[in-house]
């Protein structure tokens, strides 16, 4: 079983982030940092607008902020965006729910029963290290080319983050606490419900935050490959029709989804941080 430090090294919390795109994270930044960040973003969009209006070729391949806004308005007006957005979000949430439903109970069992951990260790280690998305074609053979396959890909990509963090949390219990509980005659069951479960909550939340990221990879790849609707499909068709503006718009929608989910989960994580034993 990989140590927890493997996961906590993932530097997703980038403190002192200035700028427009991460206002929530910008609290730590100084005024100078914020100004520079904002300037960089403004300059980027200005340069993009300029580069996009040099020639017909540049307009085709790199588009421009103005065209992206137009494309976005068009997609909103025709209602296409709403259909794709809903499809993606539903598949994504179903997959994450499956990960939570399987990952947390199994993670608790793995952390609590050493023998079970030894039984499952080889598979978990292999699937953690492998690019699990390689099993996507097999999933299609099992579940067909519809939504179930996409949901399962989200599950496959994200469940290990939940599982491993949960079991790490259960395992890293404060030994003194357990000894104290034992000497006061607490049963295993009591130790489990009053010590192990609460202490593992912060780890579970960290696992969820990581799972949200890997799950989003799953839903996008799933839709890019076999989707009938969704943001991933929108990206593919836009690419086939050489509509760069639509691609950028889709990417911005994904950035919005990603920022929202990670902001919510970071807040939850901070809330439960003090529960760490």
């Amino acid at each position: 079983m990989p140590e927890s430090s493997d996961l906590e090294l993932v530097p997703l919390q980038w403190n002192g982030l200035p700028g427009l795109l991460a206002p929530r994270l910008a609290k730590g930044g100084s005024a100078r940092a914020r100004t520079i960040g904002t300037l960089a973003v403004v300059l980027f969009f200005a340069a993009w607008q300029l580069a996009g209006s040099i020639s017909a070729g540049s307009a085709l391949f790199i588009s421009s902020p103005g065209r992206v806004v137009q494309a976005g308005l068009q997609l909103v007006r025709t209602g296409e965006l709403w259909v794709d957005f809903r499809t993606t979000v539903v598949s994504y949430l179903l997959g994450l729910a499956l990960s939570i439903g399987v990952g947390i109970p199994l993670g608790v069992l793995l952390g609590w029963y050493r023998t079970l951990e030894a039984v499952l260790e080889p598979y978990i280690a292999a699937l953690m290290a492998a690019p699990r998305i390689i099993f996507f074609p097999l999933i299609i053979i099992w579940l067909g080319t519809g939504r179930p396959s996409i949901v399962f890909v989200v599950f496959l990509m994200s469940v290990f983050d939940v599982l491993v963090n949960t079991s790490t949390g259960v395992r890293q219990l404060d030994a003194t606490l357990i000894r104290a509980a034992h000497s006061f005659g607490a049963s295993s069951r009591q130790i489990f419900t009053t010590l192990a479960l609460p202490a593992s909550v912060p780890y579970i939340v960290t696992g969820l935050r990581l799972a949200a990221g890997t799950g989003l990879i799953g839903v996008v790849v799933g839709e890019l490959w076999i989707g009938q609707a969704g943001i991933g499909v929108m990206l593919t068709t836009a690419g086939q029709r050489l509509r760069a503006a639509d691609i950028y718009f889709g990417v911005f929608v994904l950035i919005a989804i990603g920022l929202t989910v990670s902001a919510v989960l970071e807040r939850v994580e901070r809330r439960f941080q003090s529960w760490r034993s």
């Binding site: 982030l17 290290a129 990221g213």
Partner: protein, 256 residues
Amino acid sequence: MKSHALNRDALISVASVAVMLLAWQGAAASRLVPAIYISSPEGVLQAGRQLAEQGELGRDAALSATTYLIGMGLVVAVGIPLGIAIGWFEDVRSAAGPFISALNVIPRVALFPLMVLWLGIGMRSTVAVVFLSALLPIVLNTSQGVSQLEPTLLRVAHSFGASGRQVFFTIALPSAVPFTLAGLRLAAGRGLIGLVVGELLIGDSGLGQLVASAGQRFATAELLAAALCVTAAGMAIIQGLRSLEHRFQAWRPAHA
């Protein structure tokens, strides 16, 4: 006592794999589960041997490895200098922050259609996706290593009159090494995802394409043989980088 428990765990793990293989073979032989869904250990071995003999496995593995190494080479060449600049110069960090956080929250594979539009259908797009998938862990970890220096060391350096340049070369760079290596390990895993996605979606070369085309022909044994090769390669790469990381663990500043 402790090693005794570890031995027991290892034994259980080995037994678990043996039992699983037997159950898999049993389920396939008894036709309890159609072969198209799970094939069988024997079938997978056979398919693997056949792919290896025809040279397909070697050819595709070489193509995948080339794509992956070019992508990861670019990641190292761009990511480490960028990470150092971001970690050392506060203004660079301020300017890069919004872009990094935006790139960090989207699945980089979503940029794949854009890469195809820019670079065409082929290896170049896959290299670009490997690069984009793997870049951030190295940048973020390196910058963290360069910026989070041990305060005592810094105080000592300052009181002996070290210049900013000296602090950079003798304290900041060495203490960033373990962070960069940890970043490299994370990057290696994400780069593999990028590689596989690129090959699955483009489907003109590599192990990802081998798996995808086996899937389209419902050749489950072939599919699993190739997918297990990728899994084994992934495990080997991560394990190798982990031992490299342990080797440099002592360079890490004490407080981190």
